[in-house]
């Protein structure tokens, strides 16, 4: 386990460095919400939580992964190229005119199941996929990742109630609860603070974990077969995770650090890597 966690930490550091470098180069992007869910994404793809075949992204038995917060696309692009879903050279186009890689995901990109950009759709889409798996007696699971800000969308709760009514125990939703949206930090007693309870009240299994602890993320995905209802994993995260000065909530939703600030972050990463 310890070895696996070390490997995941290393991968996560690599993804963060790549994301930071790219955003610093382009002077454009969404750092905060990307860094908050980086550990979750790394765990899903490198922690053997998901079954996939990078050489055959449309493999019919693959686990489906849908992300609502497409702003985190850059972390996924690096993960997907690293795993071989598509050529890393394609990433050189990113941010240039005519690039096939946008600032949101679309289904033409190998690895992406859905066209992101509008919040609140993915639990419903995931419920449709999970329902199709039941109809066709297929074993794949569907994992959805949404932000806690995204959970303000009413359509999320339509989907949550639907999934519970159809007992979609092959559907899991991770909430990246970084407690910050674009313009404000959220507080404990508003919607974000009681998500575990809300999912439970809608008929889901629901647990809260530290979204930066690989041990806790991996453990949340073990023993899934014991559930007969869909599962919500509320992952407490920090917006901008990985760089102390970025960890200030809403401020770094789409601001880009200065060259000096950027250097400071990279130094922090290097220091962390040495310890």
């Amino acid at each position: 386990m310890q070895e696996k966690v070390q490997m995941l930490k290393k991968k996560a550091r690599w993804v963060r460095t790549k994301v930071l470098n790219t955003i610093a180069r382009l002077r454009k992007g969404h750092l905060g919400g990307t860094l908050s869910c980086t550990d979750l994404l790394v765990a899903l793809y490198y922690g053997k939580i998901m079954r996939f075949d990078a050489a055959n992204p449309n493999w019919s038995e693959r686990d489906r992964f849908l992300i609502g917060k497409g702003h985190a696309h850059l972390a996924l692009y690096y993960i997907w190229t690293d795993l071989g879903f598509f050529d890393v050279r394609k990433l050189e186009e990113y941010g240039t005119d005519g690039s096939s890689l946008g600032f949101q995901l679309d289904r033409n990109i190998p690895g992406s199941e859905y066209n992101t950009g509008s919040l609140g759709h993915v639990i419903g889409i995931g419920a449709g996929m999970a329902l199709a798996a039941k109809m066709d007696r297929k074993a794949y699971k569907t994992i959805v990742l949404v932000g806690d800000g995204e959970c303000d969308e009413g359509s999320i709760w339509e989907a949550v109630m639907f999934a519970s009514r159809y007992r979609l125990n092959n559907l899991m939703t991770i909430v990246d609860r970084n407690q910050a949206t674009v313009i404000e930090n959220r507080v404990e007693d508003d919607g974000s603070g009681r998500l575990e309870e809300k999912f439970k009240m809608c008929g889901w299994e629901s647990i809260t974990i530290n979204g930066h602890s690989f041990e806790q993320i991996l453990s949340a995905f073990t023993g899934l077969e014991k559930f007969n209802r869909p599962l919500a994993i509320i992952a407490d995260t920090v917006k901008g995770k990985g760089a102390s000065f970025l960890e200030q909530g809403a401020k770094w939703h789409h601001l880009v650090p200065s060259a000096e600030e950027f250097d400071r972050v990279i130094r922090e990463f290097e220091l962390e890597a040495e310890t």
Partner: protein
């Protein structure tokens, strides 16, 4: 009405036959019943989903099913399967070009006394701005039935507007609807283009105009998008005057479509658009009475055509 059949029965009976043969057909209703759906629910319980009063999620679930190889039919009240979930239609179905069919019950003023929330009079305007969408507007039970097959055969998004109620058939079973329109009558003086159940009114108007020595042709444009423009323009050759008749807002519906085609192709044609006034209807009464209020009943339209003809 002798031999009159409800559009829902015509459509769903055919869809039932399609579903027997094709196991990938899945039906989702947002809590909307129909007499002819009972046997569907009974015989295919695993492929009949009531997603209840949650239309946004209905569309997202349909997209998830379609992404997993299903052919999905969504059924609900027309305003709620179009406007309530418009963004889901745009993003989840259209942007991924999925084989999902939306069936909206209540075209035009079908739900006459229920006020503007239930009327289907601005939907063509918004649905036709979705690039991937095919729009079918049946005018009788034969077209309603045939369009179940058209939608099933399609691999892309389709929207079907169903009139609520019974009408006699105009077409016969052997008709080929693949051109998207039918010329029902030829006429030397003007051409009436209509869509949906207003076709029945248009045919009465044609008869009435004869008394005024006006010979009017009648075209039923049941596929509002996409339109086979070359073929359609050919049908308009020799016509110098066109009247469009619809039970939809003046903005964005049939009249707009014809106006765009004429303008874009620089055709020297005078166009008179007869449609519903640009307002939310808070008049309550029977559908025929509402048509009189909005001057889209046969008598009012005849008067408008004659006045326009004289100009």
């Amino acid at each position: 009405m002798k031999n009159a059949i409800d559009f829902r029965n015509a459509f769903f009976d055919n869809l039932y036959d399609i579903a027997i043969k094709n196991k990938e057909v899945v039906f989702i209703t947002s809590d909307m019943p129909a007499e002819s759906l009972v046997k569907y629910n009974k015989d295919f319980p695993d492929r009949f989903i009531n997603s209840r009063v949650a239309e946004q999620n209905t569309v997202s679930v349909a997209a998830g099913l379609a992404l997993s190889g299903k052919k999905v039919f969504i059924y609900g009240m027309l305003p709620f399967v179009t406007m309530r979930c418009y963004e889901q239609i745009k993003v989840d179905i259209c942007s991924m070009n999925l084989p999902v069919t939306l069936i909206g019950l209540g075209a035009g003023l079908s739900f006459d006394v229920d006020g503007p929330t239930a009327h289907g009079v601005i939907d063509i305007a918004i649905m036709r701005s979705l690039p991937e969408m095919t729009i079918l507007n049946p005018s009788d039970p034969i077209t309603a039935s045939a369009f179940a097959e058209t939608a099933y055969s399609s691999c892309t998004p389709t929207y079907i507007r169903l009139h609520k109620g019974r009408t006699p058939s105009i077409y016969d079973n052997a008709t080929d609807f693949s051109d998207g329109f039918s010329i029902l009558k030829n006429g030397d003086d003007l051409c009436i283009i209509t869509t949906g159940v207003m076709l029945h009114t248009a045919l009465r108007i044609r008869d009435e105009l004869k008394r005024y020595s006006l010979d009017a042709g009648v075209i039923d444009l049941y596929q509002l998008k996409p339109i086979k423009e070359d073929l359609f323009l050919k049908a308009l050759t020799n016509h110098k005057k066109i009247v469009t008749i619809e039970e939809h807002s003046l903005i964005g519906g049939l009249g707009s479509i014809i106006s765009e085609i004429i303008t874009d192709n620089q055709r020297p044609i005078s166009l008179k658009r007869i449609a519903l006034k640009d307002e939310q209807c808070f008049h309550y009464g029977k559908r025929e009475w509402l048509r009189e209020v909005y001057k889209v009943d046969a008598d009012s339209i005849v008067k408008q055509i004659i006045a326009w003809e004289k100009k």
